[in-house]
């Protein structure tokens, strides 16, 4: 286990208590109803959960990245569906942190500190992995932008009060014409489309967002026109480790459930599971720890202000893959019990970790490009010639 400061440990403990009290007992129920329970939101408000990523000067708690990852792991441990709802709200702030001006930050962070929900809208039906292929447009008319188009698979889309939406201000330029906007709930023409029903993380809300001549003030533009792709990429750098954190939580939960199950099944110390099972448990533990360490290392880089795009992709890919591997091991290890219990939920939930926030194939593209890129020294030398 990574070495944490006393303050981080205390936050971890408090989060564990929150999760044990408010999330674990209701996780199965809301997985079944595919609903997010408002009581969790109340509790989250009370615990100032959404304020953790808001800088102190805006009334938030201003946790560093590592502490946020520690909190997110506990959410993933309790229920990565509910964890996704909470995390997506926190992550919706990232684009504003990256590119927002003072006024925009105030505008966006205030509801966050109050415990309202935020949402991040980039993906479109034809623009998943190829995030630059979106068709949603934002046309400037006077001191307003008019947004038209459809976003899909938007987490928290159904009940957020503030959104960061990506739209093309210059469709002729493709992804170089992409811009980011703050859009408030209730703008005329802004409606919710189909609600998706998913294999896992079912208590999280995933919807289509429909924009028909939605007018927003020009002051809602984040950064400059055409900076959307840059802002989105920086946002995703920040968001990916959050998925790694939820994944590590899933890994730890699966391991703990396996141990609990085997202890119940083999109460006699003289009759213990064989080495095949013992070694599987050992592997689960190694993989969980490795995923957690890679995540914490990445967060320490971010906290130190070092560029961490590649590590961000690495920790998300590894932790997501391990969550999938370990949860299917867990179902296998527990046989019929695994298949008919909450353990199977862990496996359904884990699959999305390899998909959202950029599929693990896209991450591997990012990583392999970095590996194959000429070393900075070599580039500099070449330039010198």
């Amino acid at each position: 286990m990574s070495i944490l400061t006393p303050e981080q440990k205390q936050i971890q403990q408090a989060t564990r208590e929150f999760v044990a009290k408010h999330i674990i007992p209701v996780a199965a129920k809301y997985d079944k109803t595919c609903d997010f329970h408002p009581a969790i939101l109340e509790a989250a408000r009370e615990s100032k959960i959404f304020a953790m990523a808001v800088p102190k000067e805006y009334g938030g708690l201003g946790y560093d990245a590592l502490t946020q990852a520690v909190v997110l792991e506990e959410w993933g441990y309790g229920c990565s569906g509910i964890g996704t709802t909470l995390a997506a709200s926190v992550l919706s702030m990232d684009s504003v942190l990256v590119a927002g001006n003072e006024e925009q930050k105030k505008k966006f962070f205030e509801p966050m500190v109050r415990g309202e929900i935020g949402s991040f809208g980039l993906t479109e039906p034809g623009a998943g992995s190829d995030a630059g292929a979106g068709k949603t447009t934002a046309t400037k008319e006077g001191d307003e932008y008019v947004i038209n188009g459809t976003k899909c698979w938007i987490t928290n889309g159904g009940f957020a009060s503030v959104y960061v939406i990506y739209a093309l201000t210059d469709p002729t330029k493709g992804m170089k014409g992409l811009s980011a906007f703050i859009v408030e709930k209730g703008r005329p023409g802004f409606t919710i489309g189909t609600v998706d029903h998913k294999l896992g993380i079912r208590s999280s809300n995933t919807v289509e967002l429909l924009f028909k001549d939605v007018r927003i003030p020009a002051s809602n533009l984040l950064g400059k026109e055409g900076e959307g792709m840059k802002i989105a990429m920086m946002t995703l750098d920040m968001a990916r480790p959050a998925i790694a954190a939820l994944s590590v939580g899933i890994c730890q939960r699966a391991l703990d459930e396996c141990v609990k199950h085997l202890q119940q099944r083999f109460p006699d110390p003289k009759v213990q599971p064989g080495q095949t099972l013992q070694f599987k448990l050992a592997d689960m533990r190694i993989e969980t720890e490795a995923a957690r360490e890679l995540l914490h290392y990445t967060m320490r880089m971010r906290d130190a202000g070092v560029r961490y795009s590649v590590e961000s992709a690495e920790c998300k890919t590894y932790a997501g893959d391990m969550a999938m591997k370990i949860t299917s091991q867990a179902v296998s290890l527990m046989g019929s019990y695994g298949y008919t219990s909450e353990i199977s939920k862990l496996m359904r939930d884990a699959k999305i970790m390899q998909i959202y926030e950029g599929t693990n194939q896209i991450q591997r593209l990012v990583i392999s490009r970095a590996v194959l890129a000429p070393a900075p020294a070599a580039t500099a030398q070449k330039a010198g010639k």
Binding site: L199, R265, S332, T340, K351, T359
Partner: protein
């Protein structure tokens, strides 16, 4: 081993495929949603002789052998693995009675099992680590009125719908798992109750429940095989189950690969169909290869079984191979379809949930390794 199917086997497989398209494809989504036992479809499957494929002709079976059986199971699973599960679990009871039954037992039970008039169930698991050992293990006590059964069998498939069950009970609590005996128990036996249906991740529609025995009295003639022959009956029947479930896995995997391939051709990202991306091609190629190799393993084990040769090691190897893949076939095909693949409006999530059942269920995770190693080390 021969890889070629005979004309008859091909015909039976093709017929099953046609049946599945006509009768299973239209119901599969709703069945997965409601998990209501598909009585009509089971009746139709019985009309096709699917319930008595390998049973001898003298008892009304199709006498088509085990290769035909796995062909049918695979083809049904391509459309609806839950319906195939009902056939498979029925067939395990039929297998055990056909293999170890006395002429009188066979005459009594096989004709109705073969015609599908009676559904079979095979109840071996318990809440303890091994049957016969746990606190609520099913115990059989010999008394004047016959054998008296008390205890619980856990996770029984076809529970509540089967008219006849083959159950394993412990005849000597001191000897535990060594003193297991198989009994044939009628579904309507007095004192036999079926617990609440369990919510399963996949294979929904094939009922799973615990079965409670409270002073269930069965006659001496209900003993299947010899007293204490239970462990051998369990091992061999579970090996048949391993082959059949592997056939289900192959069917589900095949359906998933085909769906993902079609999807990848229509999904355009980066200005071209993702099927042109090497990484996607690799996912598809690996998945198709796994599927093919598993099918060869299934057919080989089924041929051995059909030829009356030892088949348990080969059955365990197929199970081991598939368990080691961690349902990789489905994990990767969902991956090909990305966000769409995760949506329950698309077929892959159901296949994902089903394949977890056919690869990960039905025996302790270390069973195949133990069987294979024991053969190597003997």
């Amino acid at each position: 081993m021969s890889i070629h199917l005979t004309e008859e086997q091909q015909l039976i497989g093709k017929n099953a495929q046609g049946f599945a398209k006509e009768y299973l494809d239209p119901i599969v989504v709703e069945l997965d949603h409601t998990a209501n036992y598909p009585a009509d479809v089971v009746k139709k499957m019985a009309e096709q002789d699917f319930m008595g494929l390998f049973l001898p002709g003298e008892y009304g079976g199709a006498e088509a052998g085990y290769v035909s059986f796995v062909e049918v199971v695979e083809n049904l699973s391509r459309s609806c693995a839950a319906a195939a599960s009902i056939v498979v679990n029925h067939s395990l009871a039929a297998y055990a009675i056909n293999r170890w039954g006395t002429p009188a037992q066979k005459k009594e039970y096989l004709p109705n099992l073969a015609s599908g008039k009676t559904l079979g169930g095979f109840a071996i698991f318990e809440n303890g680590p091994t049957p016969g050992v746990g606190p609520d293990a099913l115990k059989a006590e010999k008394k004047a009125e016959g054998w008296v059964l008390n205890g619980t069998k856990a996770y029984v498939r076809n529970a509540g719908k089967a008219g006849v069950y083959v159950v394993l009970a412990c005849t000597d609590p001191a000897a535990g798992a060594k003193a297991l005996t198989a009994f044939i128990v009628n579904g309507n036996a007095v004192g036999l109750t079926v617990g609440e249906l369990k919510e399963t991740m996949g294979l929904r529609g094939c009922p799973v429940a615990d079965m409670n025995f409270e002073n269930v009295i069965v006659a001496e003639a209900a003993v299947l095989g010899a007293v204490n022959e239970g462990p051998a009956i369990m091992a061999e029947t579970l090996a048949v189950a391993a082959i059949a479930e592997a056939a289900q896995t192959v069917g589900i995997g095949q359906a998933a690969v085909e769906h993902a391939a079609v999807y990848s051709k229509s999904r355009v990202q980066f200005g071209r169909p993702i099927s042109t991306l090497q990484a996607i091609q690799t996912l598809l190629a690996e998945t198709a290869t796994d599927c093919h190799l598993a099918r060869l393993g299934v057919h080989h084990a089924a041929e051995l079984l059909e030829a009356g040769e030892p088949f348990q090691v080969e059955a365990a190897m197929v199970k081991q191979f598939l368990a080691r893949l961690h349902s990789k076939m489905l994990l990767d095909t969902v991956q090909v379809e990305g966000g769409f693949g995760y949506s329950e409006f698309m077929p892959l999530p159901r296949l994902f949930r089903d394949i977890a059942g056919t690869t990960l269920l039905d025996s302790p995770a270390d069973y195949p390794d133990k069987t294979i190693a024991a053969a190597l080390l003997a």
